[in-house]
Structure formats: structure tokens, C-alpha cells
């Protein structure tokens, strides 16, 4: 049986062992994400919504993180806000 080899680069090691506490499920992320992106958009510059479980989940779940980014872009556009600034605010928190 042919084996496939993958190098354990530092980035991969970090992703394999990522700290994703406090626990939040994908279902709960979906339930809360609309409220989270609006709080993110409405928070004053430099202030973050107090959502450690959401942040931990978005760090650990690429699918939820990608969908959250799109939702943030849409909600920013609805408010006439710069989507680039909105995404930067999300990334600096996760």
C-alpha cells in the first residue's frame, strides 16, 4: 500500500493542536452569528464584542469562519460601511 507523506510544518502543527476552548458547536455558531456580526459592525473602533467562544470557534472551524466573513460583508454593505474595514475587524479578533 503506497503511503502519502505530509511534512509537519509549524503552521500545520499549530492547526492540529489549536486551542478551541471555550467550546461552541457549529450549530450554536450558526444560531449566534447574525447577532455577532452586527455587534462587530456596531462596536466602537478598538472595542470587541465579548464573545470568546465564538472567536475560538471561528479560529478552529474554517467553514464557519468563511461563512461569517460573507455575512459580515453583506451586513456591512447594508449599513453603507466599508466591507474591507469590517473584514479587518473580524480578522484582528480571530
Amino acid at each position: 500500500m503506497n503511503r502519502r507523506y505530509r511534512p509537519l510544518a509549524p503552521g500545520l502543527v499549530a492547526r492540529l493542536t489549536l486551542d478551541t476552548d471555550p467550546w461552541l458547536s457549529c450549530d450554536d455558531c450558526f444560531r449566534l452569528v447574525d447577532q455577532y456580526v452586527e455587534e462587530l459592525l456596531e462596536a466602537p473602533a478598538g472595542a470587541a464584542p465579548d464573545a470568546p467562544a465564538m472567536l475560538a470557534h471561528l479560529r478552529g472551524c474554517p467553514a464557519c469562519a468563511d461563512e461569517t466573513t460573507t455575512l459580515l460583508l453583506l451586513a456591512a454593505e447594508d449599513r453603507g460601511l466599508d466591507p474591507g474595514v469590517a473584514v479587518a475587524r473580524l480578522r484582528e479578533r480571530s
Partner: protein, 217 residues
């Protein structure tokens, strides 16, 4: 413009009540609300599909639109089925968008992976030879510890899920489809696997190495 139409542009302060009522009560307003909701779903689905087009490998706008329309239709049904769960914690539009975004993202990922096999049983993790000589010894030591932990501390199920999701980067919903599981269940397995690895590496004294490399891309 009606109250629902205003809500669509994000200018109404009573969006939630208007949307839920308009979508629930048969009549001309319901027809209009349905049409506006479909526009919202299509906008959100198209945005998600466009963001993922690099994964689709050079498809044209006709394919983007085909996926977006199908996703928007499915998402609209999901929104109408869940209408009673809208609590007004966000604008109705933001709440509704998330169904279209989820549906479109899932549809694209399934499409991208439909011809691809998922096989982690032949996968072997090896030390990174790209590291500089200065980093090499430390990197090899840490990689060896992580590899050993994956092979000895995790259950067979945890190992397979961890390797598929993190090393092979199989999307969680695609893997859920293949295994007859849910996205939630697989993420929980991943969370538990990571936690168990971290606990073991803390015991072996490698957690400080992990912390120092946490920001490495």
C-alpha cells in the same frame, strides 16, 4: 416603498415584525415579501459563490448563477421553515442572509469535492525539511511529539477526523456527507482530539513550543 421594502434596504426600525408578519399572512403583501426575500437570498448566495470561485477552477458566471439560484431557492425554504425562530436579535435581513450563505457555501464545497476521494489511512506525517538548520532540531522534536501523540493518544476515529479536516483540509460538511455524520458531530470530535493532544503535549513539556509557534502561518 412598503415597510418590508424599506426593511430590505436596512432602513426600517421594525424590520423583524414586518417581515415575519408579511411572510406569514396570505395576501398581496406576502407575495411581495416572498419576492423580496428571494432577492435577498440570491444576493447572499451569489456573494458566497463568487468568493469561492477560485475553488471552482475557472467556471463562468453562468455556473456561478446556476449554483446561486439553486442555493437561494433551497435557502428560501429553510428561512420560511425557521421563521418562527427569528427572535429579532439582529436585523431580519442579516438573519436571513446566513441561511443563503450556509447553503451556497455547502453547495460549492460539495461540488468541488464530488470527484475527490478522502483517504487518510495511507497518510503519514513527517518532520518538515523546509525548516532552517537553526529551527530544525526544535521543529523535528515538536513534530515528532505531535506525530507520536496523534498515533498513540487519539482514538482511531479522532485520528481520522483530525487528519481529514486539518491535514487534508476536507471541508467539514463534505466529510459529514461521506461519513453519514453531522457537521456538529465532526467538529466536536475535532475539538476533543485537539484538546487531548494539547493535554498530552503539556504533560510531555512540549506545550511551550506550541505556544511559541502558534502565530506561524
Amino acid at each position: 416603498m412598503t415597510a418590508v421594502g424599506s426593511a430590505c434596504m436596512g432602513t426600517s426600525t421594525a424590520v423583524g415584525e414586518d417581515w415575519v408578519r408579511a411572510l406569514s399572512v396570505p395576501g398581496p403583501l406576502q407575495d411581495e415579501a416572498m419576492s423580496l426575500l428571494h432577492d435577498l437570498m440570491l444576493r447572499a448566495a451569489r456573494r458566497q459563490v463568487l468568493r469561492m470561485t477560485p475553488m471552482l477552477g475557472g467556471v463562468g458566471l453562468d455556473v456561478v448563477d446556476e449554483i446561486a439560484h439553486q442555493s437561494a431557492n433551497d435557502a428560501m425554504m429553510a428561512v420560511l421553515a425557521k421563521l418562527g425562530s427569528f427572535e429579532g436579535r439582529s436585523r431580519f435581513t442579516t438573519w436571513a442572509y446566513k441561511f443563503a450563505v450556509l447553503q451556497a457555501a455547502t453547495d460549492v464545497r460539495r461540488r468541488v469535492w464530488r470527484e475527490r476521494a478522502v483517504d487518510v489511512d495511507r497518510l503519514e506525517l513527517v518532520p518538515d525539511r523546509g525548516a532552517t538548520s537553526e529551527q530544525y532540531a526544535e521543529a523535528v522534536d515538536l513534530a515528532s511529539a505531535v506525530r507520536h501523540a496523534i498515533n498513540t493518544v487519539l482514538s482511531q476515529h479522532q485520528r481520522r477526523i483530525l487528519l481529514a479536516l486539518v491535514v487534508e483540509e476536507v471541508p467539514v460538511d463534505v466529510l459529514a456527507d461521506r461519513l453519514g455524520a453531522t457537521r456538529n458531530a465532526l467538529y466536536k470530535t475535532l475539538h476533543d482530539a485537539r484538546k487531548r493532544l494539547r493535554a498530552h503535549l503539556r504533560e510531555t513539556g512540549h506545550l511551550a513550543d506550541l505556544t511559541s509557534q502558534a502565530g506561524t502561518p
